[in-house]
Symmetry: C2
Subunit: 362 residues, 2 copies
DNA sequence: TACAAAAAGTAAATCGTTTTATCCAGATCG
DNA sequence: CGATCTGGATAAAACGATTTACTTTTTGTA
């Protein structure tokens, strides 16, 4: 056991400078140092300079823990997402982190791993940290245990992505409904009258919106349109079999002329299945996917997809939250619906569909 | 001043119970409450019970901020990854989070967004929090600014994934070298003598290992083997053109009989290119990818890939770190090399290659 | 029964900040 | 000239825990 020499212990850092060290070196009180650090103006320029010198000389940095302890606002925001392995939430968290930093906040991220029980627990944990506010992407919807816990603990929060506008919470979501309607516009407008709607879990609010938006617009445009909705909540392998079975039983004239797949994974599934059956895309069948991915511009054909405005959502979520936290806004909850973008690629486009219809007619 | 003052501010939660409230209610001192909370035995069962009752009655929970302030060990570990949008790091972080929680630690995650400057900054930030230890996945290698900063600040840390074993740091990585050697075994053993090695950036330590391991073993097995290495650091579109150009100039007998792609994205790129050219996999060309992904078991054909032991790595990283932090281990740095698993699927297998060779011979 | 040792309990110091209440020296004013 | 402000500065009180250094009780032993 090395003992005695405590200053330049090779393993341990020489005790970090505290605000007291700075104050002593600059010949002022800690209160003054604190003011300088936080940019408060009522300090004589000469003193401020000496403080800044001392800070530089000692490599002083504020300890966010100690700093947060006293004040009402600890300048931490919590973020809870259902899953960190999906690129979408990864990108969302990256955006949140960036936005939080820009406003001088720290962020604590946690993954609920698609468990509602864990979600509620994490909310409580965020409350333990006395976070200034929380950004919650609920596992299912704004009616889950996480959201209830937020209310129960009287926390400030913004609900993101898997929610529908609600009059009890601030919410930020992609406009799933409108985006799906736009897909309907594209496909119906291109002459498709038999469409497969294919997706994963029906559980989440977002998924309901995607389905609802498409069906409503499609039927509005042409009440006779045929929509086959195949949504399963099952394991990967079951999903694969399901889609395969569908195309087994829907051949020839019974085969839809377009597919709208409701998630990245569903899109890949459909793509592979059609490839295996050597169905030509987009000539024999058109494909549009919800949620864009890198690989969709690499495949052959490249895939038309709805891109979610993830960066915008992140920025908006932080903005809405901080508006409440800092400006003590107490007005009605706001619901932001960020528009999606449709990225037209080879697998489905207005142009191509028209020529297809023309061919049919001729 | 806060006497019987328990006003229930409607907007703000009724002031949270502190350890003092619990102590008063249970008729003991705060020190005793603290002992009970942290499971220290020297407390009379009767008292312990009354404390627990009070805790339950008041919904008391420890404030991790205040709790960490005093002690040497704040029970926080920091994690810095180059990127949160890739499923691999997402999974890694999820694993780290789980392991940290199991040991009663909080975790703070941050993304360096592939920037070495930011990496060093984040390390300093972690030090501000006085984390117990840091898990760093460097942008490039163990020789980057992040690692240097760790040393400069005298922090405890484990370097993960993009590093090679080093005598200054604890490290945990997938055994890229051995895994690539195993791929060489598979492909050379199956009779392939002309192989394309295709990948993204050559920057990271991991990538160098993947290339080195393959080339060394392949040449050891058969010095005459021809390996075309095509590694580019460019944009997506350039990469696509590069791979396309390669196959334009390597047709017929000049076309390799197998491809080993060094990243998920590279694998997808190759797959699409071969599809477009209607080259049959695995009959005309075999394909093995480094880094497994969900979609590889969904495509047609399914793809043989090297799966990284991400869960194991996460667990190991936390274990190694906590061994140093808690047991004050001061022994030599440990270097853990976690073995990868090869998942044989349709795109390349020993069985298939054999029959292929037989066909050739016949 | 008496006394030392061990166990249990506590007051107070501490961690590194922020915030509050106070103070002080000049400036302004009547 | 005395009273009132006022811009700057500060000592000291939080913040909510942990930990230290004692004190008090209980237990064990002679």
């Amino acid at each position: 056991m090395p003992q005695g020499d405590s200053r330049q212990n090779p393993r341990q850092n020489p005790r970090r400078a505290t605000i007291h060290d700075v104050a002593r070196k600059a010949g002022v009180s800690t209160a003054t140092v604190s003011k300088v650090m936080r940019g408060i103006a009522t300090v004589k320029p000469a003193n401020a300079d000496r403080v800044r010198e001392a800070v530089a000389a000692l490599d002083y940095r504020i300890d966010p823990l100690a700093s947060g302890l006293r004040g009402e606002n600890r300048r931490i925001i919590g973020a809870i997402v259902p899953d960190l392995e999906s690129p979408f939430f990864g990108a969302l968290v990256t955006g949140l982190e960036r936005a939080a930093e820009e406003s001088g906040y720290h962020m604590i991220v946690a993954s609920s791993r698609e468990s509602e029980a864990r979600e509620a627990d994490l909310v409580a944990r965020m409350n333990d940290w006395r976070v200034s506010g929380t950004i919650l992407v609920p596992v299912r919807s704004e009616r889950g245990p996480g959201a209830r816990q937020l209310k129960a603990l009287g926390m400030q929060a913004v609900l993101v992505d898997r929610v529908s506008p609600d009059d009890r919470y601030d919410t930020v979501t992609a406009d799933n409904y409108a985006a799906s309607a736009a897909v309907a516009d594209l496909l119906i407008g291109a002459g498709h009258r038999h469409i497969l709607l294919h997706g994963a879990t029906r559980n989440s609010e977002a998924m309901r919106m995607r389905i609802g938006g498409f069906e409503a617009r499609a039927h509005a445009l042409d009440p006779t349109v045929r929509i086959d909705t195949r949504v399963t909540d099952d394991t990967r392998e079951v999903q694969r079999q399901a889609i395969s079975a569908y195309f087994d039983t829907h051949t020839g004239a019974a085969r839809p002329s377009a597919v709208y797949s409701l998630s990245q994974h569903a899109t890949l599934l459909v793509l592979c299945e059609l490839r295996r059956r050597a169905v030509a895309i987009p000539d024999e069948i058109a494909l549009v996917g919800f949620d864009d991915a890198d690989w969709m511009q690499t495949t052959w054909p490249t895939i038309t997809a709805v891109a979610q405005p993830v960066a915008t959502m992140a920025k908006a979520a932080v903005a809405v939250l901080l508006a409440r936290v800092e400006r003590r806004s107490t007005s009605f909850p706001v619901s932001r619906l960020e528009p999606c973008r449709m990225i037209l690629r080879e697998s489905a486009s207005a142009h191509h569909a028209l020529s297809r219809r023309a061919r049919r007619g001729g």
